[in-house]
């Protein structure tokens, strides 16, 4: 390996642990983002199993009403703020500098700070379980329910929640600045904006969203904190505040956050599909513009979460919400036509990408129902919405995350994951996912509200709830082959080599895992597929002109 020569022959006194904890290497930070996110994914998953267990049958079998509210509140909080958002930032961290041929991100120390804020936030959330009352006002923490008063959110648990989410927000803002500067200032020679992989474009748009929207959430939460602790009058009608104002400010962040949670997953899919179809991405520029359009429209649809409040100008938000379907549809057709007339290798990354396509499609379609405002009057806050959001965030983002994990694991570790175990995981997860969330459409139509711990045995919801619970445990079972796969592959997986997938982008032009400075030399970049050009003779191999890592900027 090219890296060995650069390491001192003697062992240093520093342990591996010390090296990882103090590192500013974007790849190690990216991997730690992933590990941290998966830990909270499993915690959030256990909480979800608690929710599903309680709902399997009518009546309260396992938890009290209060604990049930804590379960789904913390499930959503962990999954959104400490799993999906950070894990996609983690993939971005690992892959963006490699994709643009840079040695690291622009601000490596700030990058480390963004990472380490996350476990701190997670610990604060876990600590809240040991207070009088863990947060139980939903991940939205609507005021006045989140105010400190009897039958509201008593005690410091909710305050810990606020501080934790503000820490996650700070991490996002710092990360966004880092990504933007890196993407605009550190691209390798030849890597023009329109030669960047779509993954980088999605991280770029996500960073813009994060930078503009996250401060709004932070201010909302600080105002809520003041309301709770210092007698503020922002959101509590009892003190002259406005309960609807909180929702406006909260969703001004939290709707763009949905795109923060799904755009990078779309980026992953846009990398995986061309490689496993052996074709270029169909309509590269259309993808770029569609991504930008989703980002821009994302700022004008926040109030579609508030159609039933009676305090929203409905036609405007209805129209904007419908319009977002257009760029999303453009992407969907471009993905399909990337595979069209290709030669598909049905490896695990592609299977998860296909899972993304087929499930995210449903998440888009059932979302359109709620864009039709009167239909939303019927469906809002029922299980239909639970189905919708999971088809987007699980069917979309989580399947995208799994595709990315199987795709880049060889680059991160130098070893392949097992295809057999990967396929078992995919089948279990795909079946479990649909068993869990598809019946929720029918439950919602039948009138089952979300966030209820109990329902009447005569409501006719028993069978579908039991089915959803069985599905939930099937999803949990699909995590066993994943963990076993990672464990086995790290010990004795097949060595990956530089480019196991015959891929197109720059990360596959270096070793697996890459050296600390990423590239010994870069191939010539003349399209969005420099490695394809290299393989098929449209570009000269850069090996003739060895570029030291520091020379890439002085070129």
């Amino acid at each position: 390996m090219a890296t060995t020569a650069l390491h001192p022959a003697a062992r240093t006194y520093r342990s591996t642990l010390y090296e990882w904890v103090t590192t500013t290497d974007h790849k190690k930070i990216g991997v730690m983002y992933l590990i941290n996110s998966f830990i909270f994914f499993f915690i959030g998953g256990l909480l979800a199993l608690g929710v599903r267990s309680e709902l399997a049958q009518p009546g309260l079998q396992f938890v009290t009403d209060q604990v049930y509210n804590e379960l789904f509140t913390m499930h959503a909080t962990f999954m959104i703020f400490l799993f999906i958002i950070p894990i996609l930032a983690g993939f971005g961290n690992f892959i963006v500098p490699l994709h643009i041929g840079a040695p690291d991100v622009a601000f490596p120390r700030i990058n480390a700070l963004s990472l380490w804020l996350l476990p701190m936030a997670g610990l604060l959330l876990l600590l809240s379980f040991f207070t009088v009352q863990a947060p139980a006002a939903g991940w939205t923490s609507y005021s006045p329910l989140a105010q400190d008063r009897p039958l509201g959110s008593v005690g410091p648990g909710q305050d810990l929640w606020i501080v934790a989410v503000v820490l996650v927000g700070t991490s996002s803002i710092l990360g966004a600045v880092n990504f933007l500067v890196t993407i605009f200032k550190m691209r390798a020679p030849g890597m023009t904006l329109f030669r960047m992989p779509i993954m980088v474009w999605t991280v770029l748009v996500t960073s813009v969203l994060g930078l503009l929207a996250t401060p709004v959430l932070t201010s909302a939460l600080i105002m809520l904190f003041i309301d709770r602790n210092y007698g503020g009058a922002f959101f509590d009608p009892r003190n002259g505040g406005d309960a609807i104002l909180y929702q406006n400010v909260f969703w001004f962040y939290s709707h763009p956050a949905v795109y923060i949670m799904v755009l990078p997953a779309m980026g992953i899919i846009s990398e995986v599909l061309p490689v496993f179809s052996r074709k270029p991405l169909f309509g590269y520029k259309a993808f770029v513009f569609a991504t930008a359009a989703i980002g821009a429209l994302g700022f004008s649809v926040w109030a579609h979460h508030m159609f039933t409040t009676g305090a929203v100008y409905l036609p405007f938000f209805s129209l904007m919400t419908f319009l977002i379907a257009v760029p999303t549809g453009v992407k969907m057709f471009n993905w399909i036509f990337t595979m069209w007339r290709g030669k598909l290798r049905l490896s695990t990354p592609l299977l998860f990408a296909l899972g993304f396509l087929s499930m995210f499609l449903i998440g888009g379609i059932n979302g359109a129902f709620s864009a039709a405002v009167p239909v939303d009057f019927a469906l809002h806050d029922t299980y239909w919405v639970v189905a919708h959001l999971h088809y987007v965030l699980f069917g979309g983002s989580v399947f995208g995350v799994m595709a990315g994990l199987y795709y880049w694991f060889p680059k991160m570790t130098g070893r392949m994951l097992s295809e057999g175990l990967g396929k078992i995981q995919f089948v279990l997860m795909f079946i479990g996912f649909n068993l869990t969330f598809f019946p929720m459409h029918q439950l919602g139509l039948a009138g089952m509200p979300r966030r209820i711990a109990d329902y009447s045995s005569t409501a006719g919801w028993n069978d579908l709830n039991l089915l959803a619970t069985i599905g939930g445990f099937t999803i949990a079972a699909s995590m066993v082959p994943l963990l076993w796969n990672i464990f086995v592959s790290l010990r004795s997986g097949k060595p990956a080599g530089d480019d196991p997938w015959e891929a197109n982008t720059l990360e596959w032009a270096t070793t697996s895992p890459p050296p600390p400075y990423n590239f010994d030399h870069l191939p010539e970049i003349r399209s969005e597929r420099p490695l394809f050009d290299l393989r098929h003779g449209h570009a000269a191999p850069a090996a003739t002109a060895v570029v030291p890592q520091s020379a890439s900027t002085s070129h």
């Binding site: 257009v326 453009v330 007339r341």
Partner: protein, 398 residues
């Protein structure tokens, strides 16, 4: 862009046109045929549809749902089918290492799949806007005004005089108040065929008024009076429609149920007059129906012991322990000081979750009531607020 070999330039365009045509034809088919295919399929897959609407507005929402559902089904099958077909058709055969044609895109195709979805969403938007205008319309002179109050964790209903107005005359005295949210004598009793304007108010947190068979919900927001109008359909007479709070409001969220009963106009007028007369005749006698019938009302003379007193304030009782004499009826003077928040005192065997022996009438504060409790055997009991199980204490009978 790098110039890679482009082969089959015409074929994706052709396919794109075909797909666009299918989408367009699908939409046209739905529009031209009305929504008959969907209606026909109701018997088979009724659970893919919301319940039959019992209000005029709900009927419009149902029609819009059918339209959206029809378009959604077409899009689902076309796109999902395209994905599956592509994967099956173009999977790599073993040993085939030849590079497929390197198609970079097609401008016509991009235009088609931008314009067609835009047209579809335009249709959907216009349809939903038109429906919205109908659903949200309010009349200048509704035939009836009713107010629903959602408090943690109980619904109550008030029949308002016609001169009530949430801005200019918000303190108009209600004709009748119903504090029991469910059951044959509780809930919201309404006449069919009359325009009903329902005002919504909350003294504490956000709730939502949701009746699945109305296909409608609206948030009940503290500090704000929301309202909406509807008319129950004639065929609803005799029906009872279940409703439930749909916005997370705390621990008792899943227990906030209520009933809506439909009557003919004539029956309703009689019912309302009788209820008003009954309420006026006995301002606050022993609660009209203190319990489920298991406990006979204390019909013996005045109780020997002095009445116990209990105050509710800030969703808590002022005492955690009470004691009463055994085998003799006694009274509890209950003072609810929480404005608009409903409380009561119920007596349970052993612990707050034990069997209910006595249930005092639930009423919103600030108000006072005296409960007549039947004789109890010596032992330990719990007293608890039926609305807020957190509010409880022990009652020692000796």
């Amino acid at each position: 862009m790098a110039s890679s070999p482009r082969t089959g330039r015409s074929s994706p365009a052709l396919v794109a046109v075909v797909i666009g045509a299918v989408l367009i034809l699908g939409v046209i088919a739905m529009v031209v045929l009305g929504f008959d295919p969907v209606r026909v399929s109701q018997g088979v897959a009724s659970s893919f549809f919301p319940p039959q609407a019992v209000t005029d507005r709900g009927e419009h929402i149902r029609q819009l749902y059918d339209l959206v559902f029809g378009i959604a089904v077409v899009i689902f099958f076309v796109v999902e089918g395209l994905i599956i077909w592509t994967v099956v058709r173009y999977r790599r055969k073993p040993g085939d290492d030849e590079l497929p044609p390197q198609t970079h895109g097609n401008a016509i195709a991009e235009v088609v799949w931008t314009v067609v979805p835009t047209l579809i969403v335009a249709i959907l938007f216009v349809a939903s806007w038109l429906t919205l205008n109908t659903v949200d319309a309010t009349s200048a002179q509704p035939q009836m005004k009713v107010r629903a109050t959602a408090a943690q964790f109980l619904w109550s209903f008030e029949y308002l005089p016609n001169d009530y107005d949430p801005v200019t005359n918000k303190d108009a005295k209600p004709l009748l108040s119903i504090t029991e949210p469910e059951g044959p004598d509780g809930g919201l009793t309404l006449p069919v065929g009359r325009t009903i304007h329902l005002y919504l108010q909350s003294p504490d947190v956000i709730h939502a008024f949701y009746v699945p068979q109305f296909l409608f919900k609206r948030d009940v927001v503290p500090g704000r009076t929301n309202s909406f109008e509807f008319t129950l359909k004639d065929e609803d007479v005799g029906g009872t429609f279940h409703g439930q709070c749909a916005e997370l409001c705390g621990e008792g969220h899943n227990k906030m149920h209520f009933d809506v009963h439909a009557m003919t106009g004539a029956d309703f007028d009689t019912w309302l007059q009788q209820k008003i007369a009954a309420a006026n005749a006995s301002p606050s006698p022993p609660p009209p129906q203190p319990s489920g019938g298991s406990t006979p009302p204390g019909q013996s003379g005045p109780p020997a012991a002095a009445p116990l007193s209990l105050v509710a304030q800030n969703i808590a009782y002022d005492k955690t322990e009470l004691s009463a004499p055994a085998n003799t009826p006694f009274q509890i003077q209950f003072d609810n000081q929480d404005a608009s928040i409903p409380h009561n005192v119920a007596i349970h065997e052993g612990s707050p979750t034990g069997a209910e022996l006595f249930k005092g009438e639930i009423f919103p504060g600030p108000a006072q009531k005296t409960y007549d409790v039947p004789p109890l055997k010596a032992g330990a009991y719990a007293f608890v607020c039926s609305v807020h199980p957190n509010m409880n204490g022990t009652l020692t009978v000796q």
